[in-house]
Symmetry: C2
Subunit: 304 residues, 2 copies
Amino acid sequence: MSLVSVGTVAFDSIETPFGKADMVVGGAATYISLAASYFTKEQGIVSVVGDDFPKEELKHLQKRGINLDGLEIKKGEKSFYWSGRYHDNMNQRDTLVTDLNVLADFKPKVPTDLRDAKYLMLGNLTPEIQYKVIKQMTKRPKLIAMDTMNFWMDIAMKSLKKTIKQVDILMINDEEARQLSGEYSLVKAAAKIHKMGPKFLIIKKGEHGALLFAENKVFFAPALPLAEVFDPTGAGDTFAGGFMGYIAKTESTSFENMKRAVIYGSAMASFCVEEFSIGRLKNLKATDIKKRVKRFEKLGAFTL
Amino acid sequence: MSLVSVGTVAFDSIETPFGKADMVVGGAATYISLAASYFTKEQGIVSVVGDDFPKEELKHLQKRGINLDGLEIKKGEKSFYWSGRYHDNMNQRDTLVTDLNVLADFKPKVPTDLRDAKYLMLGNLTPEIQYKVIKQMTKRPKLIAMDTMNFWMDIAMKSLKKTIKQVDILMINDEEARQLSGEYSLVKAAAKIHKMGPKFLIIKKGEHGALLFAENKVFFAPALPLAEVFDPTGAGDTFAGGFMGYIAKTESTSFENMKRAVIYGSAMASFCVEEFSIGRLKNLKATDIKKRVKRFEKLGAFTL
């Protein structure tokens, strides 16, 4: 197996200034694996749903080449549910409901055929679960990337730092990087986070782009200015999926290749926000992605 | 004359998470003209101060080739004074004090030798004053750029739109672009603002970089991730000064050249924030600027 991702497969209800979507498909592992499916057919997810989760949605994931052996379906239980409302500026949101349901006692089980994956993506979950997944791998993956959020910094910093120590790439937003490091300057924050373990830090800034930090190196990828932004939900996960999918496809973790992976991740995220839920990620063509990546190339190009 | 800038020459008191500066030199025209002075020696400012403004600071501006014929010194009056405190994230600030003083009844007088300037930069002031300056030019400048702020959108939208109609480039931040256009999407905001008059829109996003919109074209310039950010005051004006100085030096308003001007403006702004007040802008070397511009080139470079 090339890529394994752990994260939620869930229902979301979302309100943005542009509309509402009720009980639509969401979850980090859903977005990650769908985005990655455009780059690799060698991937699986580790997650849990209730038997309320629509079978046709699971079939769609499988049709896109996603191995669901690691997706536990709990009979008589409900899937994880999140509901949120975005502010007018879309950079902030309020959580209205979080129903853990099946997630309350989720014990991830990485199936045997996924345990030798070369690349591991840890979607946002309790750091303890992320840690357990790493420990179930039979061989240390070539690259482990991890998403997390301020919530875990607030309530589980010790456990979070234990997991962070194990990974190669940490993917967080700018506020989280500042909270985790205690540094305002992102350059200083990156230096401190490198010392916590990860050789690479990706700072996701939504509509403001993304930064990739390695020791003594930095790369800035813009976000595409879009005419239509309906719903930012899942954009970060889609970025991560595009990034890891590209790495899995190209099998290189050089800085130059990671820069390309950031661009492909950003391109996938730019599709994600154009519709509610996974709508836009269901039927992209290779040419759509190619065209969009070219737009990134043009967007920041200048000659001195 | 190549470049004329109108704006405040003033005192600031500033608090950031990293320190305090009391009654230091500030003002839009100060930052604009100092930044531009690294690109052209053919420039003047139109402004007003009280006789409390230090003579040695004015001499320094003159030493940098800035024509002060248009700087009125009002005897027995005090210079404009602004005091503000930045939030922890430095992207927001509270104004603590605004003492208009000499600015209360400022009637800009563009001296004869500045009235034929090829390039005109309107720093943030009442739209009415900006309009009057345009009307005093004997020949329509090749390029008029204008900065403004949400405050004028709140209290003087009609007058603001009258001035905007006269200019080629509007420079505002993302929130202001959204407020002015009533559009969330910056792509749609740019389209609406083009219809108000300006052929070009520059959206300044501080630590998130800058966007340059022309009809059917867009360019994204990153901001340099900096280890030391002491004080963002004047960064937007410094950007504008670097931008217009570069245009004045190169005498081209092609989109390709404007992209370079955005990079030079961003480079100048990246110096500005490294010290309080105009400290860092006083004695830069050409090689400092060259090196920094090169860092921008590297920061966003990738190959597909």
